[in-house]
Symmetry: C2
Subunit: 284 residues, 2 copies
Amino acid sequence: MSLDNSWFTEPVEQTGTAFSLKLGERVHAEQTPYQKIEIFKTETFGYLMTIDGCTMVSTRDNFLYHEMMSHPALNSHPAPHDVVVVGGGDCGTLREVLKHPEVKRAVQVEIDERVTRLAEQYFPELCVANGDPRATLFFGDGIAWMKQAPAESLDLIIIDSTDPVGPAEGLFGRKFYLDCIKALRPGGLLVQQSESPLLHLSLIAEMHRFMREAGFAQTRLLHFPQPIYPSGWWSASVAQKTAGELAQRLDEAALAALGTKFYNAETHRAAFATPNFVKQALAG
Amino acid sequence: MSLDNSWFTEPVEQTGTAFSLKLGERVHAEQTPYQKIEIFKTETFGYLMTIDGCTMVSTRDNFLYHEMMSHPALNSHPAPHDVVVVGGGDCGTLREVLKHPEVKRAVQVEIDERVTRLAEQYFPELCVANGDPRATLFFGDGIAWMKQAPAESLDLIIIDSTDPVGPAEGLFGRKFYLDCIKALRPGGLLVQQSESPLLHLSLIAEMHRFMREAGFAQTRLLHFPQPIYPSGWWSASVAQKTAGELAQRLDEAALAALGTKFYNAETHRAAFATPNFVKQALAG
C-alpha cells in the first residue's frame, strides 16, 4: 500500500528503506542559509524536526541518541574537563554532557543558529541546560573552530552532525581528524555519530581507517537503537588519542545521578559489544 | 513526501510508524486458510515475506532475529536436549537450533504449511537444516500441540510467532503458559518474541506478569536490532521454570562453531542489558 501526506516519510533511495511517522500537522518550515528545517507534530512521537527531509530529532526517542552520544564517552574518560560538541544544535547532547559535574567547560559549535532557536521553541526540554555557566553556545563552522582550537585544550570532542553528505561531509575527513588530534589532550577521546551498522558498514570501516591514518591510536564502535534513523539501529565511533583500555569512571551512584532513561552500567557495556559481522568489517 | 507502490510499506496505525522497502516486484501472493502471504523482491534487502501486510522475514536482516531468538536461550540452558519451535515456519530459527550438537530433537510446530513451502522456495538458505534427522516439521496448532505435550518432556520452548493479534493471540495467554510450564523439565526455559521495547512496553510488562502468574519462577528481557520490524528494535522474553542464574554453557570454541553473524559472547551479554526505562516498567 502507499502512504499519503498524512505521514512524514524519509525515503533513502541509496539504502532502499524508508521510515514514516503519522502526522498531526507541519507546524514550521524555513529555508536557512544552510538547509531546510521543518517541524512536524506527529501522532505518537511528539514533535519531529527534519533537515533537508531527513529525520533529526523526535520528542519520543531522542533520549536514546543523546544519551549514547555522550555518556559512554564521558564515562570512558578519567577526567573530562573540557568538552566540545560539534553540531548538536538541538542542545540535547549538551544537556547530557552538563549532567557530569567533572565537566568544567562545554562548547556547542553549531553552524546553523536556527536549529537551536527552533529547538528552544519545540524541544524546550532539550535546552534546559543552555543557561549553565559552564556552557557556551557558539554559532559557526565546526571545521574552522577546530582548526583554531589551542593545542591540547580539549578532553572530549563529540561530533553530533548530520549525514556525511553536504555541509557535514568535512567532519568525516582526515584533515578534520588531524585538527581534532592536535586539539585533544593526551588521553583525549573523540566520539562521532557513524550511521547504521547494517546499512553503512563500509562507511564505518572507512571512518575508522581515516581516524587511524590521521593518527588516532585506537578506534571502537558503539551501537544503540534509534528508531527514527534508517534501520532503527545506529552507531557512534570512538577514537582514542592514546592507546589503552578505556576508563569506567562512574560508580553506581554517579550513574544513577545522571537520571538517564536508557544509559546505565549494563547498557554501557552492551553498546561496546561488537557483532561478528562488524568485527570482520572493521578488521579489514 | 508520499510513497507510491514502488515501495512495500507496513503502516502501523497503533504506533503511528511505518517502515518501507523499495521494491523490485511482488513475486508471489496467496490467501491461505490462515492468512495472506506475499513475497516481494526488494532492491536492497533481498526477498521479503509479509503476512497480512506485516513484514515477517527478509533475506538481508533475518540473521539478527533468528540468531537472537535461539542462541541466547540455548546458551542459557545447561543441557538443551529437547526443543520445540512454535511458529517459525520460515525455518530460520530451527536452523539455528540445530547448530547445537546438544540438541537431540527439535520440533517445529507451524500452523500454516504454506509459510514453510514458500520459505523453501524463496529463502532456501533458512531451510538447509530441514532434513536433519533430529528435526520434525509438524504442521498444526501450537496451542493444541502444547496441551498434548507429555509432562516434563521439553528443555526449551521457542515461541516464534506473529504479533499477539489474530491467530497468535492465544500464544500470549496464561492458559498457554500453564501448558508450557507443565511440558518443561525442571530448569526448562521458554523464550518468546515480545515486540518493541520502545513501542510495546506495556505489552511486554503484561506478558511478564502473565508468565509469572502462570507459575514461571523468573522472567527476563533480551533485546536486539531488527530493522524490518516496527521501530527497528525488537525483544524476546525469557521465562524460567526454575529460579536462579542462567547458565552460560558455550565456551569460545563452541560459540565460534555456530558461524553466527551477530551472536557472540559479547552480544549475548549485551542482549540482556536492561535500559532504565525498561527496568522501571518491568518492576511494576
